[in-house]
Amino acid sequence: MKRFKTIVSILIALVTVAALAACGNTTPEPTGSGTQSGGGASTGREASNTVVVGISQELDSLDPHNAEYAGTREVLFNIFEGLVKATPEGEIEPAVASDYKIADDALSITFTLRDGVTFHDGSAVTAEDVKYSIERYADIQGEESAFSNIKDIVIADDKTVVVNLNEPSTEFVYELTCAIVPQANEANFATSPIGTGPFKFVSAAPGENLIVEKYDGYWKEGFPYLDGVTFQVVTDAKMAVTYLNAGTIDIYQYLTADQAGTVNGNYNILEGSVNYVQGMFLNNAKAPFDDVRVRQAIYYAVDRDMINEMIFGGKSHIIGTNMIPAATKYYNADTETTYTHDVAKAKELLAEAGYPNGFTFTITVPNNYAPHESTANIIADNLAEVGITAKINLVEFNTWFDEAFVGRNYEATVVAVDGRLAPSTFFDKNVSTASNNFTNYNNPEFDKVYAQATAEVDPDKKVEYYKQLQQILADDAASIYVQDPSNLVAVNANLEGYVFYPISAQDMSVVKYK
C-alpha cells in the first residue's frame, strides 16, 4: 500500500512535469484594471535614477559573439559596440571607429579608430582587439555567413584597421556592428563581459535578470543619462501587464492592442513596429502552390486590412513583399497595392488554374507569438469565401523549426521573418540555392537581380535593384506577405527619450527621467 503511494507520488510529479511541458503558460488573461490619471508610476527608482526594463526573452549568453536570441542582442546593445553601430533610422554611424572609408572597388574598408575609447575596465581599445574581435566573430559565424567574405584584416598602424574582402561589397560594413571585446578578458566573456558601450555589466542571474550601471568613461559625452538599468525577464506578456500596473517594471515592449489597453495611466504607450515580415509563407515546391495563379488567387482572397484591424487595431503596416517599411531607403511601397482584396478575381484565377471548387491544405503555425495563430484563423476564414479549406495545425516553435524551416515539410505556414541592417539579409532566403530558402522559391530572374544588387557599388543603382527584387516577389506572390506588426511599448510616463530601432535594440543610453 505504501509502496503504491510512493509510486503514485512519483507519477504525480512526472505527470506534472509532462503537463507543464505540454501547456507552457497557463496564466489566465487579466480582466482589465482602472486607469489612473496623472503622472507616471511612483516606484522610488526615480530617486536613484535607475529603471527596470521587462524583457520578453531570456538571455542565452552574455558573450555577444555567441548570443543568438534577438532578445539578448536587444539588451547587449547597451554594453557592447562595434566599429560602427546602428542608428534609429536604420543607417550606421561610427562608434569604436571614428571614421570609415569603403574603397572605390568595394574590396576593402578602412577604419580609423576613435581616440579615447576605453573598455569598461579602463584599458584603451587597441587595433589588435579590433582584429581579434572581428576574427573571433567570423569564426563563430562559420563558413556560410556573410563573414566568410573577409579575406584578411590588416593593422595598418595603431589607429587604422583595414578589412579586405574576397568579393566586392558595399553592404559588408553593416555587419561590422559586431561587438569589439578585449582579448585580455577572453576567459570571462560569458561570466563578466566587458565592452565599450554606455553601460557596464554588474551582475546576471540566468533566467532572472541582468543588471548594468552607467559607464563613466563612455566616449560619447553626456551619455547615458541613467545611473543603472535592471533588465528583468518577464516572458509572459499578460504577466508583464500586471507588473506594469503594480509598478514593478518601467518599460515593456511587444504588447498587443488588447494588452496595451489594460495598462494603467502611469504609462505611455509608444507605437513602433517589430520590424518583422509577417505573413503566410507558401511551400512553392508543393502542389498546388507551385502554380503562380494559385498563389495569386490566395493573395487576392486574403484581407490584410481585416487582419491588421482585428489583431493590431489597425496599427500595423500592411506590406506586399519581403521587406520592412522601416528600411526606408530600400523599401518598395508600390508592392503594398499589387494585390487588393478581390474575391471575384481570386475565384477567376483559381478556375484558370484548374481548381474551380478550391482545395484543402494545412497551415502550420508555431506557438511562440499569439498573433500568428489569429492571423492564420482570419486567413482560413478569408479562404473559405473562395472555396479553399485551410486547416490550422498549431505546433511548438521548436517543432516548427525542425519540420517546416529545416525539413521544409509543410504546405503553408504563418510566421515572421526578419533581416539585419544590410538589405541583402532580407532577400538571401529567396535565392533558389540558399540553405535557408524554406519556401523553395525558385526564380532565375530573382537570382540574377539578387547577384547584381549585392555586387553593385553605386548606391542609387543598388536601391533600384533591391526595389526590383521586391516587385518580383510581389508579382510572383512568392508568399502571402501580410504586415510588419505594430510594436506597442509601455513606458513609464516619467521617462522620456525612448526610441525605436529597425533592429533588435533597446537603447537605454538615451532614456532619462523628465
Binding site: A13, T235, E396, V406, N436
Partner: protein, 313 residues
C-alpha cells in the same frame, strides 16, 4: 536497519528509472537544445557545429551513460542553454527560494488545518456543516495558479501589500523574502488546507463512534478530555500519511505558482529548461524532486511506526 537499507536500494533504482525515462522522453520530443538556441538564425552547418559542441550528435544511450556517470560523482554538467553555466550553480541559486516557499506553505497547512479540522468535527449543527462543506469544496476546487492570480490582484494591485515580481532572495533579506513568499504560499496552501480539514474532520468523526470513546465517557471523562486525550491521537494516524501526500503536492504546486509570482525557484527553472530542451537541467531538477518525494514518504513511514506501535515495517 534492514528496512532502511531496503528503502535506500529502492530509492536508487527509482531514481535511475526516472532519469532514464526523462532522457528517453527528450530523445522522442521533436527538436533539441541546438535548435532552441539558434532559432531562425540557424543554418544546417551551424546546427551541426553546435550539436557537436553540446555533444548532441552522439546516440542517446551514449549520452545517457556519460551523463549518469558524471551525475554519480555529483557533477550534473553544463546547461545547454546558458553558455558556461553549470547545472549545479543554477540549482544552488534557486533551491533555497523553493525550499522556503514549500516550508512556509506546509507550516500554513498545519497551523490552519488542525484547529479548523477539530473545530468542524466538534460543531455538528446543520448550518455549520453546510457552511463548512461549501467553503472546503469551493477552496479545493480552485486551481493554485488561478488563486495566485486572484491573490496578486487583491494584495499587490489592490492593497499594495507586496510588489509582484520584486522578490528579494533570503540571502539578501530573510524577512523580506518571507513576507513576499507568504502570498504564493497562500495560493499553494489554501486548497491543501481545505483538503486536510475535511480529511481530519472525517477521521475524528469516525473515531468518535468507536468503543473506546464510549468507555472513556463511561469512566467519567469530559468531552474535551475524550477528544484531545484519546480521539485526536488515534485520528492523526491516517492524517500523517495524508500530510505526506500534501507535501508532495505542495512541491508540485509550487512549480506552477512560482511562475505566477515570479519566484526564482526550481519550478521556474524546470519550465524554462523544458522549453529550451536543456536536458541536463531538466534531469537534475526532476531527480531532485523525485528524491525529495521518496524521502518524504520514507519519513512518513518512520513517523507512522513511531506513532502507531502496531505498524511493523
Amino acid at each position: 536497519m534492514k528496512y532502511v537499507l531496503k528503502k535506500i536500494i529502492t530509492l536508487i533504482v527509482a531514481l535511475l528509472l526516472i532519469s532514464l525515462i526523462v532522457f528517453l522522453a527528450f530523445s522522442v520530443l521533436p527538436s533539441d537544445a541546438a535548435i532552441a538556441k539558434l532559432g531562425q538564425n540557424a543554418t544546417p552547418e551551424r546546427l551541426a557545429a553546435l550539436r557537436e559542441q553540446m555533444g548532441l550528435n552522439q546516440p542517446v544511450f551514449v549520452r545517457y551513460f556519460v551523463w549518469i556517470g558524471n551525475a554519480f560523482r555529483g557533477d550534473f554538467g553544463q546547461s545547454l542553454q546558458y553558455t558556461g553555466v553549470s547545472v549545479n550553480s543554477l540549482i544552488a541559486g534557486r533551491l533555497g527560494n523553493s525550499a522556503l516557499l514549500s516550508l512556509i506553505s506546509f507550516i500554513m497547512v498545519i497551523v490552519f488545518s488542525i484547529p479548523i479540522g477539530i473545530f468542524s468535527a466538534k460543531r455538528r449543527t446543520v448550518v455549520g456543516k453546510a457552511t463548512m462543506t461549501t467553503v472546503t469544496q469551493l477552496t479545493m476546487g480552485i486551481p493554485s495558479f488561478f488563486l495566485g492570480v486572484l491573490i496578486t490582484y487583491a494584495f499587490s494591485l489592490g492593497l499594495k501589500w507586496f510588489i509582484i515580481g520584486q522578490y528579494t532572495p533570503p540571502a539578501k533579506s530573510f524577512g523580506a523574502a518571507v513576507v513576499y513568499l507568504i502570498f504564493p504560499a497562500l495560493a499553494i496552501s489554501l486548497p491543501k488546507i481545505a483538503m486536510t480539514v475535511k480529511f481530519l474532520a472525517t477521521s475524528i468523526r469516525s473515531e468518535l463512534h468507536k468503543d473506546y470513546v464510549r468507555t472513556a465517557y463511561a469512566k467519567g471523562c469530559t468531552r474535551n478530555q475524550v477528544l484531545y486525550g484519546h480521539v485526536l491521537k488515534n485520528s492523526m494516524v491516517p492524517v500523517i500519511t495524508f500530510l505526506g501526500v500534501i507535501v508532495a503536492e505542495i512541491v508540485a504546486g509550487s512549480i506552477v505558482v512560482e511562475q505566477v509570482f515570479a519566484v526564482p525557484g526550481i519550478g521556474t527553472l524546470l519550465i524554462t529548461a523544458i522549453t529550451n530542451r536543456d536536458y541536463p537541467v531538466v534531469e537534475a531538477v526532476v531527480l531532485l524532486i523525485a528524491f525529495f518525494i521518496i524521502a518524504i514518504n520514507f519519513i512518513v513511514d518512520m513517523i507512522y511506526m513511531a506513532v502507531d506501535p502496531r505498524v511493523k515495517l
